[in-house]
């Protein structure tokens, strides 16, 4: 049986209904809003509202009512509430406490001594003993061991201070990055909605062309596909925008209700050169400062271990009663460990090697920062170059092309599908600009912020693996 298509008039294919969630998520959004397509005709979307011949802006009323948060708001909130910043500060206190402990002088020891209990002495078969008495013993720490131990842990506290600074940068950088991501996501939602309006127009235009024999049913179906894709793009953009906002809120450490970010994506200052960026990170990076401080602590560790073999003197003295001589006597003793076999030579060697290791750690950190900078700077530069040229040339050109085609359409010199193409190109260019500005801003934060990010990772302590913390008393 022959296909009816092309033999009698067949109405154009229906406009697809909106995907799940579009109405719920964005009641103010464009989408043939109350359309219920029944296979025969369109339902009308609200016509534009005019007052005194001017169209009323279609800005979403939801946006206008919601509180807009700026970057400084989020930075303040994060500084006060992000747990890792507090963790990092606690680590400093922990190290100073350790330093206090390490420098404490050893306590004296009180001994009771009863010697030769039951020995027979003249006149007394079972005497209480030859000597019954009390002695005090005291270890005299030599070679400044306690002072060195305290200095060592104080220096570790200093390392912790640098690490706390790094953590602060991690948090602030993350706030900035997620702020710009949220800002970009919000702008992208707006542009996706513009592109959706264009796709809607494309769907209407295809049906207009169909009615004049200038488009086929497959052409109309294509316009439906484009429409549905544009709708999905809006949903994706809205979901992404919410994700970006929630991630931003998570960094701050507080529970914020839904809100909108407000700010400018365009970098304000001069772009930073690679040389500047590298010299900045090499001179000011808190990670590098921490590594250098750790080297100083390791130097003290070596000195501390070098004096460890110097024997402490343990002196003991006291008094008691000699039941043999039947008189009060005194007792005294001095002990000293003879460093015959163990002169702490292994630990000294280990500490020296740790010191060497830390020297390499500094170098490693420098190189790692250099490597990261190479990557991040490249992304920063590329995105900035692209965004700048979109801003300077491509978007103005696209806008002028769109405008000239609109004027040509008005003068009956060009048809509407050509205008729609130019409109789509213009909105799409603005979308690309925002995407690259997002890249430029997030990478700029890293370039200027010593490449630190990860504001919800636990704040690291001052000691990497391989350190001597095996004794109960820190030394």
């Amino acid at each position: 049986m022959a296909s009816p298509i092309g033999r009698t008039y067949t109405s154009p294919p229906p406009v697809p209904t909106a995907p799940y969630g579009l109405d719920e998520l964005d009641p103010s959004g464009p989408l043939f809003p109350d359309m219920r397509y029944d296979g025969s005709d369109f339902r009308a979307a609200p016509a534009p509202v005019y007052v005194d011949g001017e169209m009323i802006s279609e800005a979403s009323p939801v946006d206008a009512e919601t509180h807009g948060y700026g970057l400084d708001d989020f930075l303040t909130l994060a500084a006060q509430n992000n747990p890792t910043i507090r963790q990092a500060r606690l680590q400093i206190s922990a190290q100073t406490a350790k330093a206090l402990q390490a420098g404490l002088y050893p306590n004296p020891t009180l001994n009771y001594i009863g010697e030769q209990i039951g020995v027979d002495v003249e006149g007394d078969k079972d005497s209480p003993g030859e000597f019954q008495g009390m002695t005090m013993s005291q270890r005299f720490v030599t070679a400044g061991k306690l002072k060195l131990s305290r200095e060592k842990y104080m220096r570790r506290a200093h390392v912790s201070e640098h690490l706390a600074m790094a953590q602060q940068f991690r948090v602030c950088n993350d706030v900035r990055i997620h702020f710009f991501k949220a800002l970009a996501a919000r702008e992208i939602v707006g542009l996706r909605k513009e592109l959706l309006k264009t796709a809607e127009d494309g769907a209407v235009t295809a049906r207009e062309l169909y009615n004049q024999g200038q488009a086929t049913r497959p052409d109309v179906r294509k316009s439906s596909i484009a429409l549905q894709r544009a709708r999905l793009d809006v949903l994706t953009a809205e979901n992404h925008s919410r994700e970006a906002f929630r991630r931003l809120v998570a960094i701050t450490g507080v529970d914020l209700s839904e809100g909108v970010v407000s700010g400018d994506l365009m970098p304000q200052g001069e772009p930073i050169s690679y040389q500047e960026a590298m010299s900045l990170v090499l001179t000011e990076s808190p990670e590098l400062a921490a590594a250098r401080a750790k080297l100083a602590a390791d130097r003290v560790t070596v000195r501390r271990e070098q004096v460890e073999w110097v024997p402490d003197i343990v002196a003991e003295g006291g008094a008691g009663y000699n039941f043999d001589a039947k008189e009060t006597v005194a007792a005294a003793g001095v002990s000293i460990q003879l460093p015959v076999f163990d002169r702490n030579q292994g630990t000294i060697r280990q500490a020296q090697l740790d010191y060497r290791r830390q020297q390499e750690e500094i170098r490693r950190t420098e190189l790692m920062l250099g490597q990261q900078m190479a990557n991040v700077y490249q992304q920063y530069l590329t995105a900035l170059q692209i965004a700048t040229e979109y801003d300077r040339v491509i978007i103005p050109e696209a806008e002028l092309a769109y405008q000239e085609l609109l004027e040509s359409y008005k003068a009956n010199r060009v048809d509407w599908p050509t205008v729609l193409d130019a409109q789509m190109e213009y909105f799409d260019s603005r979308l690309t600009r925002v995407q690259h500005l997002e890249q430029a801003r997030t990478n700029e934060v890293l370039v200027r912020g010593y490449l630190l990010h990860g504001g919800l990772m636990a704040a690291p302590g001052p000691t990497p693996p391989g350190h001597i913390d095996a004794v109960a008393k820190p030394r």
Partner: protein, 504 residues
């Protein structure tokens, strides 16, 4: 009253038109003319403008000429055929104009194209022609970049008489080589202008002299013999009047030169490589900026029509009259072979001469009948133009955010094919001002620019007094007034419909 200036002054003074009408009536030579409405029947219609001109005037024949109002059943003053197809006067075939043959040929008149002046040097007519890039205003304010001659596109008209010797000094001001071909002339081969076959190119800045005797008569033209320069507009009339004026003498000898261009939207440079053509010009103007041909009621009119489109033939249709095809570009056709027509197909690089008696007063459209040539450029009629409550201005007001489209196509879309009529065409105030600033259009219906598009112009057949009013007086004429007056005198005033004045 030898010049229009004198006539204008005369008209300003007073009622000369009435006087001549009176004289005409006394002579009684218009007995068979179309009867005007009786004055008593002309009760002023509420929707008709006030009478203008001399409502009492009747078609008449100037006393100085020996012509009749009617020949063998054919009237020069009202639509008629005559009584015998074999008669010399059938459809006005040999009905003479008012002009006497002894006065020589009627002056050739191609609206909007200048005439190339010449000077006599030792019995030779010397013309100077400069090949150059020019800017041509197709529409008011719409200046297109094309090539032409002496600052004009089409080039200025060369007008000579059979038997003249001409010298044409051609200077090339284009930045590239050019050739000029004298189309149709049987001249010595070295002056033919066929690129490199017969001559070397005229280099930029150089001059070449062409000199030859003209033994032909008829409608000729000159054009560049570089194909793309031809397509870019380099053509001009070369009219040779016969040494012995052909009968019957004509009163008007109009020239219409048709061209096509492809000029992309937003652009001004014609794409001469195009296979599609979206701008159509008559004498360098596109309708409604084409200048109407204005003649007097009862005159014998010749129209020479040259199709210089790059690749499209034009079926030319004149409303309200049947014309005789009396010649092509090759030569005048013997009278026995003349053909009466309403529509004549004029092929590329062909010229046809139409002759007819202007016996039907009114504004008659004269146009190429190709649908796509009856508009200036074809654009698909979709978008805001056909949508209710939408206009391009809304889009232009804010480029960064477009208005929401109204998806309700409306009941009209229940009709497959809707819309076929071009909707929402807009013409600016400046455009309309320029259209109406020409004397030839005075008194036409207010909406005339909406219908005259592309390869279209208008033949205006006016009674003497209205002709003088339109062409030679400074008197203000209301839009539609001349048309209404013709309806009042020759038509059915009770069925008169004024034009909506929105386009004024």
């Amino acid at each position: 009253m030898t010049s229009p200036e004198d006539r204008r002054k005369f008209l300003k003074v007073g009622s000369i038109a009435a006087a001549t009408g009176f004289v005409g009536n006394l002579l009684g030579r218009n007995a068979n003319a179309q009867e005007p409405m009786k004055h008593s029947d002309m009760r002023h219609q509420d929707n008709m403008p006030q009478p203008i001109g001399n409502p009492a005037s009747r078609p008449e024949i100037p006393e100085s000429v020996e012509v009749a109002a009617e020949y063998d059943g054919f009237s020069r003053f009202k639509p008629s055929r005559g009584l015998d197809p074999d008669s010399d006067y059938y459809i006005g075939k040999l009905v003479p104009g008012f002009r006497k043959a002894s006065d020589g040929p009627a002056p050739f008149e191609a609206p909007d194209i200048p005439v190339l002046p010449y000077k006599m040097e030792g019995g030779v007519k010397v013309f100077e022609l400069v090949s150059m890039a020019v800017q041509q205003e197709f529409h008011p304010g719409v200046k297109m970049n094309v090539y032409g001659y002496n600052g004009s596109m089409p080039g200025p008209t060369i007008e000579v008489t059979q038997g003249d010797r001409v010298r044409i000094v051609v200077t090339n001001e284009l930045p590239e080589d050019t050739f000029v071909h004298w189309h149709g002339f049987e001249l010595p081969v070295q002056y033919d202008g066929a690129a490199t076959l017969t001559q070397n190119p005229i280099k930029p800045g150089k001059t070449k002299v062409f000199e030859f005797d003209i033994h032909e008569e008829g409608t000729f033209f000159y054009h560049s013999h570089v194909a793309m320069q031809e397509a870019f507009g380099q053509v001009g009339w070369f009219i040779v009047h016969p040494k012995k004026v052909f009968g019957p003498p004509v009163d008007r000898d109009f020239g219409l030169l048709f061209q096509n261009f492809h000029i992309p939207p937003t652009h001004t440079i014609s794409d001469s490589w195009a296979m599609d053509w979206n701008w159509h010009t008559i004498n360098g103007k596109s309708g409604p900026y084409t200048t109407p041909l204005v003649c007097k009621h009862g005159e014998r009119v010749r129209v020479r029509l040259l199709n210089f489109a790059p690749m499209q033939h034009h079926p030319i249709h004149l409303h309200g009259h049947t014309f005789w095809v009396t010649g092509h570009e090759g030569a005048r056709i013997p009278k026995s072979a003349w053909v009466p027509r309403n529509n004549e197909l004029v092929g590329v690089a062909q010229a046809s001469s139409f002759e007819f008696i202007a016996n039907n007063p009114g504004d008659w459209i004269f146009h190429c009948h190709m649908i796509h040539h009856m508009m200036n450029h074809m654009v698909k009629q979709v978008g805001p133009r056909i949508r209710d409550d939408a206009s391009v201005d809304q889009y232009l007001a804010n480029l960064s955010s477009r208005p929401q489209v109204d998806a309700s196509l409306g009941d009209k879309f229940a009709t497959p094919g809707y819309p076929q009529k071009m909707l929402g065409m807009e013409m600016s105030d400046d455009f309309m001002k320029a259209i109406w600033s020409r004397k030839e259009v005075r008194g036409m219906r207010a909406n005339y620019p909406m219908s005259v598009k592309g390869l279209m112009t208008v033949l205006r057949v006016l009674p003497d007094d209205l002709y003088e009013l339109v062409m030679n007086s400074d008197q203000p004429v209301e839009k539609g007034a001349v048309f209404a007056e013709i309806v009042r005198r020759f038509g059915d005033p009770s069925a008169y419909e004024p034009a909506p004045k929105m386009m004024m």
